[in-house]
Amino acid sequence: MDKETSTLALVLVTILAVFVAVQPLIPSNAEQFSELGILGPTKTLGGYPTNLTAGQVFMLYGYVGNHEGVVSYYKVFVKLGNQNTVVSNSTYANVPILSTHSLVLDNNQSSTFPIGLSVGQTGTNLKLIFELWRLDTTTSQFGYTGLGNYLLINVTSK
């Protein structure tokens, strides 16, 4: 092996060695996101109730996944709005909260949990809104993640 080749080999090995040294210290560059899903009474994407009577108790399931790269504290707010209530990924719906479900998830962990509900208000095309909020540890305040969904329901009196 001549001098140039030896030097080149040493440089390559040096680069490899430095890469090995810093590898465990480089933070993961994966995309960070949360997931929110609303499942029907059979824990599937379907069978959602559409026609209900006021006060009727029904069951849904919520699904939350954490891929934020850190342990996260979530709250799922279930709200009741009317057909004019806007559900967007920028602002939360400013309507009454029916119920709240809190959970803490480790990174890359998900959870499916039951949501027992009943709606007292009657109306057509009411929006049953589900919003995912996450605790900001720097401000110690929950903030809307922008993940929201809704079901349209008709509620009649008994």
């Binding site: 030896s6 040096t14 040294a21 465990p24 210290l25 850190v70 342990v71």
Partner: protein, 159 residues
Amino acid sequence: LLAGLALAALLIITVTLVSVPASTAISESDVVSSDTAIQSAFVLTFRAERSGGNVTSLVAALNSALQLVEKAQAENSTNPAQASSDLHAAQQLAQNVTTESAGVSAAGSSFKEFVFMRSVVSAAAILFAAVFALVFGGRVFRWFWVRVYRGYVVRPANG
């Protein structure tokens, strides 16, 4: 005698009433207090994870505490004594998480330090091996070659 018996009975009733605490329903402030305790415990769990600690058990305890708070709120109107007990248990769990998070955080920091040192030592070893091979590689190779082939006799092919 009758007056004495009546007085004794009155005393027994009074002591009984005083010693058995009345079960009161949990208030909104009790729930807020539990939520705050859980939130504080979560922040410490978050920091422990950032330090490299394994927070799986802390996450499980926090979820148990949250479920107890939800259960307490649901049963408050029907079974206030149980609701109060559940809320107390939730606060106790949050307190346990707060206490344990310091140890988890310290263990995480130590492990992170160990991983860093292992990486540095590994890199140094690779570098040392590379420099050694560059400087002494030829000499070492020839030394081994002579050791392996020292018993061989070299003869011309046509001899």
